[in-house]
């Protein structure tokens, strides 16, 4: 358990941030919110890098009470990966990692093992200044693990990396999170839904909600709704990849879903985003068309907006939003409980 109730005051402004919450320390807990909402400040308070006031307790151990720091930053044993890699520029890769090893006692990780897992074996003797951003960040992740941390904190670690590096690192992080809990700041819904079972939503300098990503994204009371209404993320089980037709044949809550993809997926599940404006709602399956995806859903909620009606469609556990016009809504005579077929063009699913 990580419990925090901290107030951060700023020297030259009246602004005051107050973060309060409690999370389970298992797996990945994503920290999500707009830029400038205070995500990084919350992390820095937890790390002990930012003077703040309040209480921080981790697994029954008090780190901070009032203005008294009981466990200083250097004894909190948190592995940190910042947005920039921050490798020491005067040392080579091996020496950078050795600095972390020197501070750990009996780490389950070793430099060579991580170098192999993260694919930087050939870089160990290189100067860090010669490496690319992706290479540096992989080494920064290894460094954070080598201190034998009780918690990993990552502040948008993949935001500056290219797609292929992200694809390689995400499964690695997910696997790590089975043994070491991770607090993970991100702007990416894909990373959020892929990695985390738990999220902290930060809005305007405070914790707005804590819960499962799927639930929070459906809550129209939260600031998340502006992301959600563009489209929700679905978890798709991958059954087969057809390389000739460049198509992933998958399964979402027991119903088939086709996703176009150039390359075969890495894991056995993928996250796709279905744009709410690309969903066609019909009372019967549309026949003899190019549409491949037809999902039977139930209308569980709807909301009238000035220019459209937003339907919340439930599969089995997952949800889709659909934007339709008021006229269509009335023509179809929809209400809560209606069974409808949601059609999505394969090409418009964002993989």
């Amino acid at each position: 358990m990580l419990k925090f109730d901290v107030i951060k005051k700023f020297k030259h402004s009246r602004k005051e941030l107050h973060f309060q919450g409690e999370i389970k320390l298992s797996g990945v807990c994503a920290i999500f919110g707009d830029s400038g909402a205070g995500k990084t400040t919350l992390l820095r308070c937890l790390l002990g890098l930012e003077p703040c006031f309040g209480d921080i307790n981790i697994n029954q151990q008090a780190w901070l009470t009032g203005d008294k720091c009981l466990v200083p930053a250097e004894r909190r044993r948190i592995g940190v990966v910042f947005q920039e890699p921050r490798l020491f520029p005067h040392l080579n890769v091996q020496q950078n990692l050795q600095l972390a090893v020197n501070k750990s006692n009996q780490s389950v990780f070793t430099i060579n093992k991580l170098a192999k897992d993260l694919g930087f074996e050939s870089l160990l003797t290189q100067q860090t200044t010669q490496l690319s951003g992706g290479q540096k960040q992989r080494i920064a992740i290894a460094r954070a693990l080598l201190i034998n941390p009780q918690l990993l904190v990552m502040d948008e670690p993949l935001s500056s990396l290219d797609k292929s590096s992200k694809k390689k690192l995400l499964p690695f992080l997910k696997k790590i999170s089975e043994t070491i809990p991770i607090l993970y700041v991100t702007h990416s819904e894909h990373e959020l839904f892929y990695l985390s079972k738990q999220m902290i939503l930060i809005h305007e300098g405070a914790v707005e909600a804590i819960g499962q990503p799927h639930q929070l994204f459906l809550d129209s009371q939260l600031s998340l709704i502006k992301f959600a209404q563009q489209g929700l993320i679905l978890n798709v089980q991958v059954n087969r990849f057809d390389s000739q037709e460049a198509l992933i044949e998958g399964d979402v809550d027991g119903q088939p879903l086709y996703v176009s993809a150039e390359h075969p997926p890495l894991g056995d599940s993928i996250q796709v985003k279905i744009n709410s404006r690309d969903v066609i709602v019909a009372m019967k399956p549309i026949q003899e068309s190019s549409l491949l995806n037809c999902l039977l859903t139930e209308v569980v909620d709807y909301r009238e907006e000035p220019e459209a009606v937003v339907l919340t469609l439930k599969l089995q556990q997952q949800f889709i939003y659909a934007y339709i016009t008021l006229r269509s809504f009335n023509n179809l005579n929809l209400s809560i409980g209606s069974q409808v077929y949601a059609h999505v063009k394969t090409m418009s699913i964002i993989n």
Binding site: L47, L49, A73, F82, E84, F88, P89, T129
Partner: protein
């Protein structure tokens, strides 16, 4: 070639410069760190005092030191309570004067390195478990090693080159206060141009090679680390 007097002066100069550099490298880094990080109101005043020898004519500094060292004033008087001879015209007096005179040459490169040192590296070290003093020895010092070498080299070289202050408070006692620059002046005054040429050439070669090493190698190396 070089006379015994020349050798004696070279030895004395090296001794003075080494001792001065040693003291400066003990005093300089903490002072530079404070100047780089402190928000105190008094900081600009201290910074000005440290920089003063850069623009003040050395003779002015020498004159005030001469007065301070004289037995009629506090420092000189206090010194005489446990020493037989006066601070003025002594080697110890020269060391004190050199430390003051060369202080900015040690403090300024270090201060600039400390200012340019990205705090984020220290944060990383902190989260890795490195405490205050460990960060100093294991991170800051190795990272800024070129600047530490530059600072001590400049302090050393500048002490070797000082003339005005030594002239005012050192007198010209062979083996005690007769350093290279003073001996050179002696040679010229007594029209021994050959001897003057030799000493000048030695000082010139030394200074140029030192500066080439500093600007051509050390500073570049440090910039690479600081700009990374």
């Amino acid at each position: 070639m070089l006379s015994t007097g020349d050798y004696q002066a070279i030895g004395l100069t090296l001794k003075l410069a080494s001792l001065t550099t040693l003291i400066l490298m003990l005093v300089g880094p903490p002072l530079a760190w404070w100047l780089a990080r402190s928000q105190a109101k008094i900081r600009p005043l201290i910074e000005s005092l440290v920089a003063l020898p850069l623009i003040l004519p050395p003779t002015v500094l020498g004159f005030y030191l001469l007065i301070a060292f004289s037995p009629e004033y506090f420092l000189g008087e206090w010194w005489l309570t446990f020493n037989d001879s006066s601070l003025a015209f002594s080697f110890t007096g020269l060391v004190i004067a050199s430390v003051i005179y060369s202080l900015p040459f040690v403090v300024q490169p270090l201060q600039s390195a400390f200012i340019n040192l990205d705090k984020s590296y220290l944060e990383v070290a902190l989260t890795m478990g490195y405490g205050k003093y460990e960060r100093l020895y294991k991170i800051i010092f190795p990272m800024l090693l070129p600047s530490f070498i530059i600072a001590s080299a400049l302090g050393f070289a500048h002490t070797i080159g000082e003339f005005g202050v030594v002239l005012m408070i050192g007198g010209n006692i062979p083996g005690e206060t007769q350093v290279l620059s003073i001996l050179l002046f002696d040679h010229v005054e007594s029209l021994q141009y050959g001897a003057a040429h030799q000493l000048s050439f030695i000082l010139l070669t030394f200074s140029i090679s030192l500066l080439v090493i500093i600007y051509g190698f050390l500073q570049k190396r440090q910039q690479r680390v600081l700009n990374a």
